[in-house]
Symmetry: C2
Subunit: 237 residues, 2 copies
């Protein structure tokens, strides 16, 4: 039976051998939630880049640029890191490509590329990813983007939610991290928004925009989209 | 108000600035539990060393040697990593010094030495350490030894138990890791042994010896001992 493990921080990835496995990168607030939303809104593909300057260089090639630093939209780009940027109609995103850099999410993706496949997870596409993983029948490592390398609650809860969905066909009890994530998810699930309001990250980003974003980012199964890494780009499978 | 943070793995320590803080190193199964027991049984001091060969070199100087690799007593040493080694009378430990090397605990101690003070935590001396920390009034980082760098449940639960004891005088809600540890502790506390039997580490070490050890290592407040790092040695404060 394939295993499901949860890696709480990109800094711990060197301890995990991703070869032959599927990496599910998650940055609930807000990189992967926004990328799922972007593809659902008709974006053709996403190029995740590490640096803001590199991101801006994509503009002349016709890309939309999206960048966040410490929770705010960076200067001189088209979009921040809010999923609503792809939904509110202020920027036309359909059939556009997007170059995106974020504090934690991009780094987690780049550190996961030794996996057989890298997909992006969010509560918004929880079941879509679960279904993809059931088809793959490979070991899974959920790579939590964390906050500057630190453990965070929201990405961990996603790991627990995914473990719950995959409990039937995957070994979810061989990893203490998976057990912890599952138990925290079961504790938080009855009132996910209330639970996450305790989270240091949520409180750090506390603002009207982020609270609206959080309410959106914790919706389950909003989109049937599996963003997957292919040749340097993220596309919808 | 001083903060209490929990670092889930020595691999994450570079993200934490320990200067000006107290590090509480914890390796419940079994390094720090055994060291607390050793000092309570009359051991004068403990020298934690990284390598087995280095450990054996202390024997000619009159030290008892204690070493574990992957959960078993190493060859050619006096003691393994079981706390009962200091209690069962087979080896006379009173007024002796011990050189000890363990898979995870020693490494966690050595990586924590930039802290103002390094003390060893275990369920066995939970309140003694809590009281020490209340007196110090400095920020605290609980350094979980983990399992070969990976998150483990038992060290995390200790972090949660300590957070609960210090909830009055310390900020225990600014760190997602502390919140997670506290919630897991509250979940596990009614049946700590039953909860830990799920733990991958406990199942990995599953044997009569380790089960007996675990039952002992999860006793709360058995010893009023604060092991502290002083000049390359661990002594009882």
């Amino acid at each position: 039976m394939p295993t499901l493990d949860v890696c709480f921080s990109p800094e711990l990835l060197p301890l995990y051998n991703l070869r032959g496995k599927v990496a599910v990168v998650v940055d609930i607030l807000r990189a992967t939630s926004s990328m799922v939303t972007a593809l659902a809104a008709g974006v053709t593909h996403i190029v995740p880049v590490a640096e803001l300057a590199e991101c801006r260089e994509f503009a002349p090639q016709g890309y939309l640029t999206a960048a966040e630093r410490d929770g705010l939209q960076a200067e001189g780009v088209d979009l921040g890191n809010s999923p609503f940027g792809y939904l509110d109609g202020k920027v036309a995103v359909q059939e556009r490509a997007v170059a995106i850099t974020t504090t934690n999410g991009t780094r987690a993706i780049h550190l996961s590329l030794s996996a057989d496949a890298v997909v992006l997870g969010a509560f918004l596409n929880l079941e879509a990813v679960a279904q993809f993983l059931r088809q793959q029948q490979k070991d899974v490592v959920v790579v939590c983007a964390g906050w500057k390398g630190m453990f965070n609650l929201e990405d961990t809860l996603y790991g627990g939610a995914l473990a719950e969905r995959l409990a039937d066909g995957f070994d979810i009890s061989s990893s203490d991290a998976t057990l912890a994530a599952l138990h925290l998810w079961q504790l938080a699930n009855p009132d996910l928004a209330g639970y996450l309001l305790q989270s240091s990250h949520v409180r750090r980003l506390n603002s009207l925009e982020v609270n609206q974003d959080m309410d959106f980012c914790i919706r389950l199964d909003e989109y049937n989209i599996v963003p997957i890494w292919q040749d340097g780009r993220i596309v919808a499978l």
